[in-house]
């Protein structure tokens, strides 16, 4: 029986009078693959931003790995083990693919602030190995010395995931990993996420239902900023409220 690694209680985020997230109670077991789905505007990305520390919560608490991280900064959460791949690939375009991952590995080893001004990172054993390992996991080892900005869209998004992996996370947040990809690229990335999912806790936002149903252990459905349902893929598929949210209900006439 695995333990809960990430848990929120009453989590909320308001922008003025608009509640993007409200009363979210959410728990993920270590090793689980959890999908977060919902119609556009349901608050999925806001929820991920709260978990990663991109924006602070307006209400509620977030517990990670036995500690309260509600007020922890984004960089602190990364060091605790929450890593995020962004919806739009967020990389260092002017550095090489390998250097992108080396920076993340170096930050993992040397911490948030490192005043070593006299020696380069080459002397630190393990940085290259950590970076290469992360690249290998997303199948980018072959383009290690290419300028990151010159990669294809799909490879940039995979590099973003590799950067997150190089920080040695316990939980990986993937925000629409296959969005905007061609079918081939999407299938390749899906296979990659499947492989990752076998080795770590993964939270994933994705619109590709075929992929979600195939790789998730469980699914949380957000609707209008709140949790509508949580369950196994089979349960979610047959849940009447979920079908209403996607196909009718409040948004009837818009589909």
């Amino acid at each position: 029986m695995s333990a809960t690694i990430l848990q929120t209680r009453g989590l909320g985020k308001s922008f003025g009078h608009f509640a993007a997230n409200a009363d979210i109670d959410f728990a993920v077991e270590a090793g689980e693959v959890r999908a977060v789905i919902g119609p556009n505007g349901a608050g999925k990305t806001t929820f991920f931003n709260l978990l990663a520390g991109v924006t602070p919560a307006s209400a509620g608490t977030i517990a990670f790995d036995g500690g309260d991280v509600t007020r922890a900064s984004g960089q602190h959460r990364v060091r605790l083990g929450i890593a995020k791949a962004f919806q739009t690939a967020n990389i260092y375009p002017d550095a090489t693919v390998l250097q992108n991952c080396r920076l993340a590995a170096l930050a993992r080893i040397t911490g948030a602030f490192n005043l070593q001004m006299l020696r380069g990172s080459a002397r630190i054993g393990g940085v290259d190995a950590m970076a290469q390992e992360a690249l290998g996991r997303v199948d980018l080892g072959g383009v290690a010395h290419v300028r990151a900005g010159d990669l294809s869209h799909g490879d940039k998004k995979r590099l973003d995931i590799a950067i997150a992996l190089a920080t040695q996370p316990k939980v990986l947040l993937l925000d629409e990993p296959v969005a905007g990809m061609s079918k081939d690229e999407a299938r390749k990335t899906e296979a990659l996420v499947r492989k990752l999912a076998a080795t770590m806790t993964v939270l994933i936002i994705e619109h590709d239902m075929e992929m979600i149903m195939g790789i998730s252990d469980s699914i949380t459905v957000l609707h209008q900023g709140r949790v509508l349902a949580t369950g196994t893929p089979a349960e979610i598929r047959s849940d009447q409220r979920v079908q209403d949210a996607y196909l009718g209900g409040h948004t009837a006439g818009h589909v």
Binding site: G74, L103, L106, A107, M117, L118
Partner: protein, 343 residues
């Protein structure tokens, strides 16, 4: 460029600079060569912030000027009996460093134009505080008659005002035209360039480059950008303080103009003309502009017009600056490779 080659070229350049500077067509003088190196150190400090951390400060005259007043006051007022060159230098650098830590901690959370504007505002505050503290600083008149104490080099006390031995150099004049001040300034400039080169290639420098390139991603690999930015702001201010302190001891005076907006702008112009984010660009830019000011300013009263035209010409035709354009021609776009090749 490998380390040894870079340092050998730098040393050779610093050794030859005052000699070719004497050649009739160049029409410089040894004292100007010394001043260029001293002021160039401030430009290197400014460039550390702009070129390697990506932050444009328009207030670095504050640290340069405080360095000047600090070392001047150390000699004249604070420690008049100490007769210590090192103590005077250290006082100037320390005051600049403290100011940089205070101002830096207030501006590091800002970006771009807001960062630049706030640095101007703080620098102007420093200007008026120094200006108003007449009892200490003589206001408009500045500090005069700062006689640099002899430099303690361990086995002897050296007067930097003394000349090198007489030795004919043909068209380059005589070695005795050069004072020990030049040798000292060249050694300090060499060490400053070596320090910056080491820093930008260090772990600290890698993190700094990462933050400059993509701050959001850097937060989400676990770095704390504000602490890096504050650290580099303080180092940059310390280098400007070193430059100002040396300048006051060299010139024997500290002027209120050293704290002015024009002085802040001069560091930006020197750096942009020479090459932002290059190791020796700031020195080259400082040399070119100060030399032009010297030869043009004497015969043509509207020197600022010429300076402006040179600046515009460089920005339009050599957008990476003089040194930057030379390096760019040889290829290499990756910022880490630029660091490794010691651009």
């Amino acid at each position: 460029m490998t380390g040894w080659r870079f340092y050998a070229l730098l040393a050779a350049g610093l050794a030859l600079f005052p000699l070719i500077f004497h050649l009739p067509p160049i029409n410089g003088y040894a004292g100007l060569a010394t001043e260029i190196l001293i002021v160039g150190i401030a430009a290197i400090g400014f460039n550390l912030l702009l070129g390697y951390a990506g932050q444009l400060s328009y207030g670095h005259a504050a640290f340069y000027g405080l360095g000047s007043y600090g070392s001047g006051l150390a000699v004249l007022t604070f420690f008049p009996h100490a007769q210590s060159f090192a103590l005077a230098l250290f006082t100037g650098i320390a005051i600049a460093g403290i100011a940089a830590a205070i101002i830096g901690s207030l501006v590091v959370r800002l970006y771009g134009i807001y960062f630049a504007l706030l640095t101007v505002a703080f620098a102007q505050m420093v200007y008026f505080i120094v200006f108003q503290a007449r009892d200490l600083t003589n206001g408009d008149d500045g500090l005069q008659g700062i006689s640099a104490p002899p430099l303690n080099v361990g086995f002897a006390h050296v007067d930097l005002g003394s000349s090198l031995p007489a030795f004919g150099l043909g068209p380059c004049g005589d070695l005795s035209d050069i004072k020990l001040w030049y040798v000292f300034a060249a050694i300090v400039a060499f060490l400053v360039v070596a320090f910056v080169r080491t820093l930008v290639r260090s772990e600290f420098g890698e993190a700094l480059a990462a933050i400059r390139e993509n701050e959001e991603r850097s937060i989400f690999i676990g770095l704390d950008p504000r602490r890096y930015k504050l650290a580099v702001f303080v180092i940059s201010g310390l280098l400007c303080g070193l430059s100002g302190a040396l300048h006051a001891l060299y010139q024997g005076s500290a002027a209120i103009e050293g704290l002015s907006v024009e002085q802040s702008g001069a560091f930006a112009i020197f750096t942009i003309v020479g090459g932002v984010g290059t190791l020796i660009g700031p020195l080259v830019g400082t040399g070119l502009i100060m030399w032009l000011e010297n030869i043009v300013g004497g015969v043509f009263p509207a020197w600022r017009l010429v300076e402006g035209l040179v600046f515009v010409a460089v920005v339009v035709f050599l957008p990476s600056g003089i040194v930057g354009s030379l390096l760019r021609r040889r290829g290499g776009r990756l910022w880490l490779r630029r660091l490794v090749t010691a651009k």
